[in-house]
């Protein structure tokens, strides 16, 4: 009798082979390099963060040659741009390599070109920051003008991102050509979504920097349209953080279920969530401009809607995760309404860290929904509340998921294993980080409600009573920052240990299987061309109207200023 191997079985056979053989060494080198850069950035950024926390607490006076705003600019760029982007790329390239059967040689080459382009760009960005020629923050709002080199650096970073995105697309389309009619492996599907969004988001900042800021900062044109630049920036700026979030979400859907010994949530809905997050993301940027002049109320209202719309797929995710946990817990014998919780592997850092990350997203997401609405935004805009919000979203939800990933991804790419001791260190690290973040983010939220502004060096505003009421919270922030730096040091130690010193061995790339007996996913989800066009149409719906208005009704532009 003949055995017929179905395509599904083929995939499992192939996966097994891959599990045995482990990652291709050359692909591993790519991921290792990206992760190293990411975690060195974490160390530097975390250290700068502590300096700031202590300065704002009034405990530490910075030396004259080191400016608070310089540190803040570096802290923001290191953590929001370098750590997140390098980790995301390293993780997804490993995912692509693992689920698509290795990277193509030309994609490997592209990954390296992208790597060095980003590094080169980053060096160009850092030099003017160190020389105090670019203390313009992560947002670099014109008419504040940094040294042109800063902007050229940004251009190279964006170009690097594009090359990496192109590499991912090449690999994905190659796989699909050889696996006609099949669904892209789920992790590669997430990667496609993330890279599509990365290109979409960076296109805006590329236009801002290339066509507006660079000619202006070089003096080729005299003035700049401040509102347009700001709008283009936020189309990128907000999307960027959502991309890091989508990266974390991919681990929740794909990796975490496997670690707890369960199966994935419904494949179709998972893909729908990815597509929804890709289509609706870029238009969310406008809620950063709710109290700006020059945008009419009906337009702001529409954008409140567009921002809130992202909440919907996020709420779907919340449901999916808890459903997976509950099912797995019950399958393992958990009884009663909450008994299944006890059955989850709390001692496993690969689960604990992402779980806390998810839990943190509940208040973080709720805060996000709240501050996207007009009136509440007016209360908290540009206060420490916002800083608290993105330390919850990025510092906990995203970064803790990344930490959780690192405890298997680093051993996987280094062909080493996660030892029980290292796991214990990881658990301790997770707890310290959580404590630090909770203390810090909570204080930031409260002091923000009391009116303390963000991005402001230590000041008492002439011993004003209102400002004095903020002081206790500032000290809490300083304490939180201290915890965080301790956790950062442990984490970076763990990374180096797992990459270079841990015992040799094979580590699994944990990808959960679909539940048996699920309906097959419609093929429509694979038609990325359609989703990209839909995304463009949604973006056009959101941006044509305000941008036309800002350009046609523009005031005379602003010349560059250096105010630091």
């Amino acid at each position: 009798m003949e055995t017929v191997i179905t395509s599904k079985e083929k995939v499992t056979v192939f996966n097994k082979a891959n599990q045995v053989l482990g990652i291709h060494l050359e692909d591993a080198r790519i991921t290792k390099s990206y992760l190293l850069v990411a975690f060195i950035a974490l160390l530097l950024g975390g250290f700068l963060g502590l300096l700031q926390g202590l300065n704002r607490a009034g405990v530490l006076e910075l030396p004259v040659w080191l400016n608070y705003y310089q540190i803040l600019t570096a802290h923001g760029l290191l953590l929001v741009v370098v750590l997140s982007a390098f980790f995301t790329i390293g993780y997804f390239y490993a995912g692509l390599s693992h689920t698509l059967g290795g990277l193509l040689p030309k994609v490997r080459k592209m990954a390296w070109i992208g790597f060095w382009m980003k590094m080169f760009g980053f060096v160009l960005v850092v030099i003017p920051i160190l020389m105090n020629e670019a203390s313009v923050m992560y947002t670099f709002y014109p008419p504040m003008a940094a040294h042109p080199m800063f902007y050229f650096g940004l251009v190279f970073i964006v170009l690097g991102v594009w090359i990496l995105a192109a590499g991912a697309f090449v690999n994905v389309s190659h796989w699909r050509k050889n696996h006609k009619g099949q669904h892209l492996p789920i992790l590669a599907f997430f990667a496609t979504g993330v890279f599509v969004l990365l290109v979409g988001a960076t296109a805006f900042v590329a236009v801002e920097v290339l066509f507006m800021i660079i000619p202006w900062s070089l003096g080729w044109v005299d003035t700049i349209n401040v509102m347009v630049a700001r709008t283009l920036f936020w189309a990128f700026g907000h999307t960027a953080v959502n991309i890091w979030y989508l990266t974390a979400v991919s681990a929740w859907y794909v990796i975490v279920p496997k670690i707890i010994g369960g199966t994935r949530f419904n494949d179709y809905l998972t893909r729908v969530v990815v597509i929804a997050l890709v289509i609706m993301n870029i238009t969310g940027g406008f809620h950063h401009q709710i109290i700006d002049p020059g945008i009419s109320l009906p337009i702001k209202f529409m954008h409140v809607f567009m921002s809130l719309a992202i909440g919907f797929p996020s709420l779907m995710t919340a449901y999916a995760m808890f459903r997976v946990f509950e099912r797995t817990g019950r399958r393992k014998g958990g009884k009663g309404a909450l008994g299944w919780l006890k059955k989850l592997p709390w001692g496993d850092v690969r689960f604990l860290s992402p779980f806390i990350a998810m839990a943190a997203f509940a208040p973080a997401g709720a805060g996000g929904i709240v501050q996207s609405t007009n009136q509440l935004n007016q209360v908290v805009h540009n206060t420490m509340w916002i800083v608290g919000h993105f330390h919850l979203t990025l510092g906990m939800t995203v970064v803790m998921t990344f930490f959780g990933i690192s405890y298997w991804l680093v051993p996987f790419v280094s062909k080493r294993v996660l030892t029980p001791q290292m796991n214990r260190i990881g658990v301790i690290q997770t707890i310290i980080w959580t404590m630090g973040m909770v203390i810090m983010a909570t204080s930031m939220h409260i002091v923000g409600l009391l009116g303390s502004p963000r991005r402001t060096s230590y000041t008492t505003y002439g011993e004003h009573v209102a400002a004095q009421a903020w002081d206790p919270y500032m000290i809490m922030i300083g304490i939180g920052a201290t915890f965080l730096l301790i956790a950062v040091i442990i984490q970076v130690y763990a990374i180096f240990n797992m990459m270079f010193f841990a015992p040799k061995g094979e580590t699994e790339f944990p990808i959960a299987e679909v539940e048996a007996g699920e309906f097959p996913t419609p093929y429509l989800t694979e038609r990325w061309g359609i989703w990209v066009i839909t995304m463009l149409i949604v973006v056009a719906m959101a941006y044509v109207l305000p941008l036309t208005d800002m350009i046609v009704n523009a005031p005379p532009g602003s010349p560059p200023f250096k105010t630091w």
Binding site: P293, L297, N374, T456, F561
Partner: protein, 153 residues
């Protein structure tokens, strides 16, 4: 989709819709919309353009004041104002250089002030006291010093 998921999604959707409803009601029916004034000005000629050629406070009615204010690194002009308790104050703001923020601690006043744009925001000060006004958008090396006070007597 399972029934419980449908219920969850309906609730999620409903919640977002309720947020929209409340925001819309507040914005359009109660006229509590965020500051969104649309007038523009030449940012390099603020000093020569009325009303900013004469920044200051002006009484425009019973318990009603108009404050014309310019923001520049790292100060507000005028840098102190005084109004009686219970007065309604209309702020008319613009920036002479970079982007600034206009926030009055312990009130709901919070607005971005951009070069080239005139921003307006109104507030009734019922409680007497010294209100701290500060710039909440990073504007340069002296950003932390950019503040003023409003005394409500």
């Amino acid at each position: 989709m399972h029934l419980d998921e449908k219920i969850w999604l309906t609730l999620s959707f409903g919640m977002i819709m309720i947020f929209m409803l409340i925001t819309g009601y507040q914005t359009f029916a109660l006229e509590m919309g965020p500051p969104s004034h649309q007038e523009t000005i030449d940012p390099e000629k603020v000093d020569q353009t009325a009303p900013f050629n004469e920044p200051g406070i002006k009484k425009i009615g019973e318990n009603e004041y108009e404050v014309v204010m310019t923001l520049q690194i790292f100060s507000f002009t005028p840098n102190t104002i005084e109004v009686p308790a219970g007065s309604k104050v209309h702020f008319i703001l613009t920036s002479k250089d970079v982007v600034h923020g206009f926030e009055v601690a312990n009130t709901n006043i919070n607005a971005m002030v951009m070069p080239g744009h005139i921003q307006k925001i109104t507030q009734t000060f019922d409680q007497p006291g010294e209100y701290l006004v500060l710039c909440n958008e990073y504007c340069g090396a002296g950003h932390q010093m950019m503040s003023m006070t409003i005394s409500v007597k």
